[in-house]
């Protein structure tokens, strides 16, 4: 506690709208040379608070002190001035620039004040001039001749100084312009400076690589170097580990520790307790915009922090029933999907999705989850492999309408048919007449399974085949809903094609909208409100409500509770469970392992686009899943390095 204070926040309040309080009367401090974790649930105001330090928001009330002095941080520029740098979760990088270009982007030009320079030069030249003048005076006083060669020389010197001064001082404006427009902004010197930072903290980065060729962790590294290069003393990292692999997290933490040794203050915004315990010196806990407490990490434990974070002990007991008669619904075999850059986002994945159970998909985000679901839904091209939809139907009688006698005989021999009592049909030795009788009396039955390959089928074709496949994508307003349309119009998205009329029937969507609003407790002024104006949780309710309304056979949900408060999250869990009870095959992509373990029946772990394992969610432990998420990655990485 003896370390000096770097930043102090006093009574900070920030509101959006009249009643939505993001931060309320927050008072806390940050010391030099420490790592402070800001812990809080989604929506607890962590990022908003830090954004006020970074100059992105301006507090409604309260004061910020930097090194003991009151600071006004109106914009990111001001934040730089106070040596505060923030690494946002969404990287602010220019894709087509190199790492080095991105780092020096917006760097402050060296100060060059024309007025100051002017007075400096004035002084300098007038001194020189005076000196020559006095020499000349001396010369005359000593009795030198006026128009002699020596005298001329002196006069000429005087003139030269005057001209030089005039030219120099007159061109100051141009010099300033030149300095601003300086060529070779990446002179060797600058790359060296950058390389020095890279080496000091042990980053691994090629400074001349373009951003669009980089991995997420490399991009993050660029962001950190950027902030360091600006000479920031305070670094704020917004959920830095969310997108990293465990190895990368380890490397990041090493770098952060080195920074701490160099006297930097570091703030990490996070909601992961283990990381808090591992890296930070102190923890500040926020709940619903209020600062609960700041404690020394060494004097606390995870349990206590959780209690502070959520207020009361959270019961994660999601009501999970055992699956009733799970039957395979979707077979995915050797599926490969390429991403935009042509890399294998989903790599030779095979698994089965059963009706009546929830299949959880675990994995660090960006390991192929999105592509997997979009591949199944027909939104991305499946490069390789099959997606087979399997819908068992009841016994069906054989008819001559569909099959010839010869074919029936042949198929009977292969054992496709059975009698109503379940016995296998054996037509050997039976007369034609008898077979005809059996068929006409509908005595020969078979299982007509609907087996449809969804590969290379568009969403529309899948719909036309009568396969009810619902999909809740992760980016709701970008895919799935239309932000500027009303709730009713959004409900019509799935059903507007129905009917022969050339006009859209809005009656059914309206009643569906009202039903969803009522049953899922969507908070909205009316059913004609554009979806964009709803809050995150309500948007999600609208989408999920619509997707389950069509009584789907398969329901896929990607991060359905992201950005939702606890109540809404539980509502979504319950909805998924209810679908499962209706014998729907539910796929749930999640990021919170606790939830995955509590909600799913089986868990598929994805790593680097490959299946790292499929486990029973009731018996597996969190650690085991965590291990699978990471272990496979090491192996694949090893392979890659070997190949390289």
């Amino acid at each position: 506690m003896d370390k000096p204070i770097a930043i102090e926040l006093k009574h900070i309040t920030k509101t959006f709208g009249a009643k939505v309080v993001a931060n309320k009367d927050v008072t806390m401090d940050l010391r030099k040379g420490e790592i402070l974790s800001i812990l809080g649930e989604n929506g607890s105001g962590k990022t908003t608070l830090m954004n006020m330090l970074a100059g992105i928001y301006y507090p409604d009330e309260g004061k910020i002190f930097v090194n003991g002095e009151e600071a006004t941080i109106k914009n990111p520029k001001d934040a730089f001035r106070y040596k505060i740098g923030m690494i946002h979760q969404h990287f602010k990088l220019v894709d087509v620039f190199t790492a080095a270009d991105n780092v020096i982007l917006g760097e402050k030009m060296p100060e060059y004040s024309v007025r100051k320079e002017y007075s400096r030069l004035q002084k300098k030249y007038s001194e020189q001039f005076r000196e020559i003048r006095s020499q000349e005076k001396d010369y005359i006083e000593k009795g030198g001749k006026r128009f002699s060669k020596e005298h001329d020389d002196l006069i000429r010197k005087e003139a030269r100084i005057v001209t030089r001064a005039a030219i120099h001082m007159g061109s100051l404006g141009w010099i300033k312009l030149w300095k601003h427009a300086k060529f070779n902004h990446l002179s060797r010197y600058r790359v060296q400076t950058l390389q020095k930072i890279v080496d000091t903290y042990g980053f691994e980065l090629d400074l001349s690589k373009k951003i669009y060729e980089m991995s997420v962790s490399e991009k993050q590294t660029v962001e950190i170097i950027k902030v360091l290069y600006r000479g920031a003393d305070v670094l704020i990292l917004d959920e830095p580990t969310a997108v990293l692999t465990p190895q990368e997290i380890k490397k990041l933490f090493d770098v952060l520790r080195k920074m701490r040794e160099n006297g930097k203050s570091i703030v990490i915004i996070t909601h992961k307790l283990n990381e808090v315990m591992e890296i930070s010196d102190r923890v500040a806990v926020l709940r619903k915009g209020e600062h609960i407490a700041t404690v020394l990490t060494s004097e606390t434990n995870e349990k206590q922090l959780t209690e502070m974070m959520v207020g009361k002990k959270v019961d994660l007991n999601i009501d999970r029933k055992d699956p009733v008669d799970p039957k395979p619904r979707l077979f995915i075999s050797h599926m490969t999907v390429l991403n935009k850059d042509g890399r294998r986002a989903v790599d030779d994945v095979s698994f089965t999705i059963n009706g009546g159970e929830i299949l959880g998909i675990a994995g660090i985000s960006g390991n192929g989850q999105k592509e997997l679901l979009e591949g199944i839904a027909g939104l991305q091209k499946v490069q390789n492999g099959e997606v087979i939809f399997h819908n068992p139907k009841k016994d069906k009688p054989v008819t001559f309408y569909h099959k010839s006698l010869k074919k029936i005989k042949a198929m009977a021999e292969e054992g496709f048919f059975h009698y109503p009592n379940g016995e296998k049909v054996d037509l050997k030795g039976k007369k034609k007449k008898e077979i005809v009788r059996l068929v006409n009396e509908e005595q020969i039955l078979f299982y007509e399974d609907e087996i449809i390959n969804l590969k290379h089928k568009s969403p529309r074709e899948i719909q036309q085949l009568g396969i009810k496949l619902s999909f809740v994508p992760e980016d709701r307003l970008n895919m799935g809903l239309v932000g500027n349309m009303s709730i009713v119009d959004n409900m019509a998205l799935r059903s507007y094609r129905k009917g022969r009329s050339i006009f859209v029937n809005k009656k059914k969507p309206k009643s569906l909208a009202d039903k969803v609003i009522q049953e899922l407790e969507v908070v909205t002024p009316s059913d004609m409100t554009p979806v964009r104006r709803l809050s995150g949780g309500n948007v999600q309710k609208v989408l999920v409500g619509r997707e389950i309304s069509s009584s789907p056979k398969v329901l896929m949900a990607a991060y359905p509770v992201r950005g939702l408060d606890i109540n809404s999250s539980y509502l979504i869990y319950n909805l998924l469970n209810r679908q499962k009870e209706k014998n729907v095959a539910v796929v749930f992509v999640g990021e919170d392992l606790d939830v995955l373990l509590a909600l799913s029946d089986r868990i598929l772990v994805l790593s680097g686009g490959k299946v790292a394992g499929i486990v029973d969610a009731r018996s597996v432990t969190k650690e085991e899943v965590g291990l699978m998420m990471t272990k496979k990655q090491e192996e694949t990485e090893k392979e890659e390095t070997e190949n390289a």
Binding site: P76, K77, V94, F97, G106, K108, M109, A181, K182
Partner: protein, 320 residues
């Protein structure tokens, strides 16, 4: 014959060069300025006014100073172009209006105003001033091929080439250029890096528009020799097309402009005999070539040939 064709092609290409250099700078900062035709018209109007004002200030044509006769109209053309850029930026940056709509309005307004005022300006004595515009390094009546190709143009032709190269170098190699490109690619990032997006967009657009404006002046005072003509807007649209044609590189724009110029003057060098209508088809070629290039770049577009990512999008900080 071929030399004279090339000479005229280069001379004509100057109009496109100014337009595309200005538009390149503007688009690199993220502004798809469809007001370029209007801006070029206004530049021409400015130059026309400048010539009139200069002529009114000298007593007789014998007392004209060649430098001033060229410099003052240039200054006016720059000023008018800059005003058009200011107007455009005010609407798109400060008032956050749709860029395409603002650009089209500026074009309507620019064409209207320039033709309304321009056609009513008394242009007696303009042909004398035009001679100053056309004076090159070599003025003899029978220049050899080298001189004809490189030394016989008026000052504005050389200025166009210098500006095109300067803009390319500044964008590629200087700090200011880096900032401009960042603003055009990803304004949110540039803003976060402490670059004043508003100022950069304003200044790039104003300078770009001022350069475009010179194109109009060149056409009016140099190419057609001091008469007012309603044709500049068509060149303005081609200049906009040229920017895409040369994938946002103003130095490539020089070559592209010469190609367009060549296609434009080609009909005069082709003897079609009685079938004069063939010439109309040749005049169509620059537009068709641009379409073909558009198609080809969109099919085989590499990452480098893509437009600035923030092109056409207004930036509002709180709208993240």
């Amino acid at each position: 014959m071929f030399i004279s064709f090339l000479h005229n092609a280069i001379r004509f290409s100057t109009i496109f060069m100014y337009g595309s250099t200005g538009e390149t700078l503007t688009e690199r900062s993220g502004h798809l300025n469809l007001g370029t035709p209007g801006t070029m018209c206004l530049g021409a109007l400015g130059g026309f006014l400048g010539v009139r004002i200069y002529l009114d200030s000298v007593a007789s044509s014998g007392q004209m100073n060649g430098f001033l006769a060229v410099f003052i109209p240039i200054l006016f053309a720059l000023l008018f172009g800059a005003c058009a850029g200011l107007l455009y930026s005010f609407f798109t940056v400060t008032l956050r209006c749709n860029q395409n709509v603002t650009g089209l309005t500026l074009t309507t307004f620019g064409i209207g105003l320039s033709n309304f005022v321009g056609s009513s300006i008394n242009n007696t004595g303009f042909s004398a001033v035009s001679i100053f515009f056309r004076t090159g390094f070599v003025t003899k009546t029978n220049p050899n091929a080298f001189e004809n190709l490189f030394l016989t143009y008026g000052a504005l032709v050389y200025l166009a080439i210098i500006l095109a190269i300067a803009v390319a170098v500044i964008l590629r190699h200087t700090r200011i250029g880096l900032n401009v490109r960042a603003v055009g690619e990803n304004p949110a990032t540039a803003d976060a890096a402490g670059i004043n997006v508003t100022a950069y967009r304003y200044v790039s657009t104003i300078i770009g528009s001022a350069i475009s404006g010179l194109g109009g002046l060149f056409y009016i005072m140099d190419y057609i020799g001091g008469n007012w003509q309603y044709a500049i807007d068509a060149f303005g649209w081609l200049a906009v097309a040229l920017v895409i044609f040369t994938i946002w590189q103003s130095d490539l724009g020089i070559l592209g402009a010469i190609l367009f110029g060549a296609l434009y003057v080609a009909p005069n060098y082709i003897n079609t005999g009685t079938a004069g209508y063939i010439k109309e088809l040749i005049k169509m070629l620059p537009y068709i070539i641009t379409i073909v290039v558009l198609i080809i770049t969109s099919i085989f577009g590499s990452r480098k040939a893509q437009p600035p990512a923030g092109l056409g999008l207004n930036y509002f900080r709180e709208e993240r």
